[in-house]
């Protein structure tokens, strides 16, 4: 079956005073119906730019320099403005990081969910509100009939994020992009939101692109994962495989940074201090052709310095990695 979303060779660059600076380089991935693809990496690695590029919402100074984004076979990047508006909110939608600021403070949540339906389904105001109540129930907001008339400031962060999810899923989109949907929320609420997302996904068969730096969420929610570093995909594969058997030194480093809770006898053999990856992501414009992780990599050898970053090397059906030494590092 053909994938719902196919990102092919996507590159994004920033137009600055000093010319064009690549932000995202040659990213490719597919997401099938009902599946979840996680994009992970630290801040500034291009995760959000990927999301915005797919939605065609890149900020003014950013341009797509190559590639295609196929949504159900249609190239989003070539869609005319009219067609694009028909896609957004309808076939593809997005949840933002900050539920506090992503809802319009002047309209009730019912109006805001209803607006999507009125635009894409041509519903009248009353029908839209009626359905909005149904969606509020679907995202498990108690007393939906009363809350449909609430303004965003009257809701907690978790509830606002549920409202955002209701808005995003109102038109049963093929693709949902969730840009760090839980970063601004309490840990307990985070778990609820992830549960909700995966329940709704089971019902609607929506493909999800989950942008996160929460590896726990990846393990729980994602079928596949792509690890981005400095705008390049350095490892991708099934989430189980990547988490259980990380091959790229950066991914391995990320895994080592995750705290694990060990109780009882197991606690005795656990190292006390958390690992960290020394150094910083190279800033925009300071990224050469060689492996971007090179300055921070404990495994770097001469070939890493002399050669440009290797293309993703397909290891098996479940994993691909971009590292000269991955066979030695993770045999």
């Amino acid at each position: 079956m053909s994938p719902v979303l196919s990102v092919q060779n996507l590159s994004v660059a920033m137009k600055g005073a000093s010319g064009i600076v690549p932000v995202l380089e040659h990213l490719s991935f597919d997401v099938a119906q009902g599946k979840t693809m996680a994009l992970v990496g630290e801040s500034g690695c291009g995760k959000s730019m990927t999301a915005l590029a797919i939605m065609r919402l890149l900020p003014e100074d950013f341009v797509v320099t190559s590639g295609r984004v196929l949504l159900d076979g249609e190239n989003v990047l070539a869609a005319a403005p009219q067609a694009l508006r028909g896609l957004r909110g309808n076939k593809m939608s997005m949840i933002f990081q900050e539920p506090m600021t992503a809802l319009n403070p002047l309209y009730t949540v019912g109006d805001q969910i209803g607006e999507v339906l009125r635009q894409h389904r041509g519903l009248g105001r009353r029908d839209a509100t009626e359905q909005a109540i149904g969606f509020l129930k679907a995202v498990q907001i108690p007393a939906a009939e009363a809350r449909v008339h609430a303004y965003p400031h009257q809701l907690s962060g978790g509830m606002r994020q549920r409202v955002m999810i209701a808005m995003a899923l109102a038109c049963k989109p093929k693709l949902l992009i969730a840009d760090e949907p839980t970063t601004a929320l309490d840990v307990t609420v985070q778990a609820q939101i992830f549960d909700l997302l995966s329940e709704l996904q089971d019902d609607t068969d929506t493909a999800i692109v989950l942008i996160t730096h929460d590896l726990g969420a990846v393990a729980e929610l994602a079928d596949d994962v792509a690890v981005l570093y400095a705008g390049r995909c350095i490892e991708k594969g099934s989430s189980q495989e990547v988490i259980a058997h990380a091959r790229h030194p950066y991914t391995r480093g990320l895994m080592a940074c995750v705290p694990h809770l060990h109780l009882g006898p197991a606690a005795a053999n656990v190292q006390r201090e958390l690992e960290e990856i020394p150094g910083m992501v190279p800033p925009l414009g300071a990224r050469g052709a060689e492996c971007a992780f090179l300055p921070r990599c404990a495994f770097a050898i001469d070939v890493c310095r002399a050669q440009p970053q290797p293309p993703l090397d397909v290891v098996d059906a479940h994993a691909a990695v971009s590292c000269w030494r991955h066979r030695e590092i993770a045999p």
């Binding site: 919402l57 028909g86 008339h149 509830m159």
Partner: protein
């Protein structure tokens, strides 16, 4: 900190106890708590009522020669007569209609042009912004009184021309204000979220960004009425008023040569303008208090 955390912990289970007040209703309630705003609103309402209902109680035509020229205030004419013998009180009542109408309509023109230009510039940015900012600056550097005088001289001394001239020279302030608000708002998440939900530019400008930009625009619209009234007074004072329509400014303008001998001819219309503009400024203050959360009193 504790005051901020306490309600948050309750929030998830707390239901809105009464139907949520819309932001507009909340703003009106807040306005009711501002003494300045309430006083201003009462005074302005009184002025409007006087100009509307006055003729039924005070049946003298403002253009009739009702008595001897320069009759001082007294039993013959409550507020005296002017250099032609026209009744000052009648002039105030009828002139108020013209003056307040000019103020209101000119303010509407100011805001419509200003908000349109500012919204387009702020929302689209780039070349559109550059062009519109240049246009705004061009109008801003013209001496507005001189420019209005030229327009009135060219197109005739009628109330309509005067109103349009005032609107045309006053909009740059509103445009700059609106542009600044749009620049601030257009990159906020909820605007991006609306765009991601498929909203077009027209919807984003009119339904998403503009309502959020309204508070300062409302304040500036209120103040624009006062400015327009003063402007009309200034033009009339310089002899560029509409000689066929009584207005407060015209009364001052026509009697200005006699101010030293017959103080009442200009003092009363002057006071009327002062009171009207003051009332409008107080209303502006009241609205500003009502919509500016940092000035808002707790509780």
């Amino acid at each position: 900190m504790s005051t901020m955390e306490a309600p948050r912990a309750r929030e998830p289970s707390a239901l809105p106890s009464r139907p949520a007040a819309s932001p507009l209703a909340a703003m009106l309630r807040q306005f009711g708590r501002s003494p300045a705003g309430v006083i201003g609103a009462i005074v302005l309402l009184a002025l409007v009522l006087i100009t509307l209902l006055g003729p039924t109680f005070y049946g003298i035509d403002p253009l009739d020669l009702a008595g001897a020229p320069f009759t001082p205030p007294g039993a013959d004419a409550w507020l005296g007569t002017d250099y032609l013998g026209r009744d000052i009180l009648a002039g105030l009542i009828y002139g108020g209609r013209a003056t307040l109408t000019v103020g209101g309509v000119a303010a509407v023109i100011t805001i419509v042009i200003g908000v349109t230009v500012g919204a387009l510039a702020g929302f689209f940015g780039g070349a559109v912004d550059t062009a519109l900012v240049k246009l705004t600056e061009f109008f801003q550097i013209l001496p507005s009184l001189l420019f209005a005088m030229v327009l009135v001289t060219l197109f005739g001394q009628t109330l309509t021309t005067i109103t349009i001239a005032i609107g045309v020279v006053s909009w740059p302030t509103a445009a700059r204000l609106t542009r600044a608000e749009f620049l601030r708002l257009r990159n906020l998440d909820f605007v991006k979220a609306s765009r991601a939900a498929g909203a077009g530019n027209g919807h984003l400008i009119l339904r998403v960004v503009l309502p959020n930009a309204l508070p300062p625009i409302i304040v500036s619209a209120t103040l624009a009425i006062g400015v327009a009234i003063l402007f009309e007074g200034g033009l009339s004072f310089l002899g560029l008023g509409d000689p066929n329509t009584m207005s407060w400014g015209l009364m001052i303008g026509q009697n200005r040569n006699y101010v030293l001998d017959s103080w009442w001819t200009v003092t009363f219309p002057g006071a009327a303008i002062f009171i009207a503009v003051l009332a409008i400024s107080l209303i502006g203050d009241g609205i500003n208090d009502a919509i500016n959360p940092r000035l808002r009193k707790r509780g």
